[in-house]
Amino acid sequence: MQRRTFVTLAVSAALLSFTSGFAYAQEVVKIGASAPKTGPLAGGAAVTHWPNVKMWVDEVNARGGLKIGDTQQKIELVEYDDQTNPENAIQNIQRLATVDKVDFIVTPYSTGINVATAPMIAQHGYPHITTSAATDGVEEFAKRWNNSFWMLGTATQLAKGAVETLVKLRDKGDIGNKVALVNVTDAFGMELLGAAKPALTDAGFELVYEASFPLGTQDLAPVISSAKAASPDAFVAFSYPGETFALTEQAQIQGLDVGAFYVGVGTAFPSFAARFGKAAEGIIGIGGVNTDDPKVKDYMERHQASAGQGPDFWASATTYAGLQVLEQAIEQAGTKDRAAVVQAIKDGTFDTVIGQVKFQNNVNPNVWTVGQWRDGAFVAVAADGIEISQEPVKKQGWE
């Protein structure tokens, strides 16, 4: 009896899921998306990735769809969970390409999964516009996969931005020469460290404390207390969200007295400001956007309305911009032919929320690199190739 009930239940669930896909008649653009909904990166994707995909699809469909030649076609989104696992991601891309036969795909999430899926995406010739991979490998990847485009910049750009910001503060007399430098020992943290260390020394800074810790370290109190003992003028941590929050919390508890407090990924999350309130004021970190730009302002309001939460102040806008590039390239090419759209992305200039995007050898060179929390917004204080929002200022205590 129980067995029969279970089977009936399972069969009806399966039928329901099968039949829900056959309700359209008009020609549509099928767009596939595979990114984490579960696993270690699900939290990040829920802030930075998925809300933008949803918002973009809704907005395009509300306009009547994409203009392709003389027709206007609505977007039908096919989405899968990659469980933050490259094997599942590869399988999802293959299923999107050959079973669902989607016309285009949205970028996967994170450097690792973008690189792991790039050969399959290239095999099917889809334009692959990545917006969540910041690594020094981008130029090599762009060469290797001619259909791939890289929008979030490189680790070196981010690290140089951090050093430039410290130089600006030192030149204003806000901080001295002594820097405490810590990093998480994963690829991203080490790439940033590798670029930042020589840049700091070249700029005449003295490294008074250095430490590294593995990803997922729970107790970072010793790092902050040792750093404090070295009495630095600036504290720089190349960290991931977990460590970013933990380091900031410890610095606040122990009253780490520095004129510049820089932390890594996660500083740009709205939840960072929510967690630290007034103490966040003046903290600098990876990312930043130009909040004075009316386009960015408008984007943030739309995001709030669509998702019920604000975007982060770094990769969110870039993710949306990547979708805008895809949209405009399809309309410019006037066809769903993948090769034509790839060519359109290479040749075109695109008007996006992060400004005019023009790829140079498939890489977007213009990025914001450092942001600072000022009155509840994480504004860009350093950038490469584009306008910053405001000049950096000294951090005034933890109250």
Partner: protein, 327 residues
């Protein structure tokens, strides 16, 4: 009837022929599909190799090892760290060696303990090795992100994993025929008895654990070019350890081919769930686990054997009258 070479029995010969035919059919998959079904095939083949290698040790000894991710990650890292300096086949061997050495050390340290201590130790092991590897990477090497770019495509990886699975099966078969295999059977039935009849139980278990670890290391090494970007989180992903155990137990570990009948339906089920319920994967998988444990507690092999006995008794016994209730 003339005796068969290597003292093979008729039944072994038949099983071998069926196995060879299945391998040939499997090897032809990339000819028919180069995309989705191949990707699915690679995943099935990966877990087929991992679960069978796991069963080599855990089947006869009943020690549940959650260390698969540690061996797998070592294999992946061997390739990631060495791909610019050494040829790939050599790195695969190094991966196997690392897996075996780690298994040996762990075995010496823990296999004298029994039951739950071993499970907990192996669970922590993957995390420990992950931390050691990333610490070593940051202190010793200057390489930052580990990229593995090769000319291998999905079909090459599929064939390598297929070859590995065949190798695991042949090794398992050879072990079963050897003194070591016999010793393992005794240990599995009663370890105290095994010790009393003069079997060096610790040595036997360590050797088997090393063989199992080496194979899992090889699987990790083969997968490195597929990941392309090697990170500690994906190489030492603890999910691998758990999936291996779940799939192997679903299949049943009494026979070497047991895990296979677990891996294939499980991977396909998991794929179906991911495709049809992208927003509810965890909950649907959870229900599936419950259903599996509740309805097939002895694994798929248990079901097959049950069906077989039923069939036999039915054929031997007088036909059941219609309407009669079966016990």
């Amino acid at each position: 009837m003339s005796p068969l070479p290597f003292n093979l029995t008729q039944e072994e010969l038949r099983a071998g022929a069926v196995g060879a035919a299945l391998v040939i059919v499997a090897a032809l998959l990339p000819v028919f599909d180069q995309a989705y079904y191949l990707a699915l095939g690679v995943n099935i083949m990966l877990y087929a190799a991992l679960c069978t290698a796991w069963t080599l040790f855990s089947g006869p000894t009943h020690y549940i090892s959650l260390a698969s991710a540690a061996f797998f990650g070592l294999g992946t890292y061997s390739v990631g760290l060495g791909i610019d300096h050494l040829p790939f086949p050599l790195l695969v061997l190094i991966g196997a060696g690392c897996g075996a050495v780690l298994a040996g050390i762990v075995g010496v340290a823990t296999l004298r303990l029994s039951g739950v201590y071993f499970v907990i130790f192996t669970l922590g092991l993957a995390e420990l090795v992950r931390q050691l590897v990333s610490w070593g990477q940051s202190k010793i090497t200057t390489r930052m992100g580990l990229y593995v770019f090769t000319d291998f495509t999905e079909k090459h990886i599929f064939w390598m994993l297929l070859a590995l699975t065949v190798l695991v099966f042949i090794t398992g078969w050879l072990i079963n025929r050897s003194r070591l295999g016999f010793a393992m059977q005794v240990i599995g039935n009663d370890e105290t008895v095994a010790r009393h009849v003069g079997i060096d139980t610790a040595r036997a278990k360590i050797i088997l654990f090393m063989i199992s670890g080496a194979f899992i290391g090889i699987a990790g090494a083969i997968c490195a070019p597929r990941y392309a970007y090697i990170q500690p989180n994906s190489a030492f992903n603890p999910t691998i350890s758990f999936l291996v155990v779940i799939m192997a137990l679903l299949g049943g570990t009494k026979r070497l081919w047991g895990p296979l009948v677990g891996v294939i339906p499980f991977t396909i089920l998991m794929d179906f769930v991911t495709a049809k319920f992208p927003n509810h994967t965890s909950i649907v998988m959870g229900i599936a686990f419950l259903a599996i444990v509740y309805f097939i507690p002895n694994g798929v092999t248990g079901l097959i054997e049950q069906a077989r006995t039923k069939l036999r008794s039915r054929m031997g016994a007088p036909a059941v009258k219609p309407g009669e209730v079966q016990p």
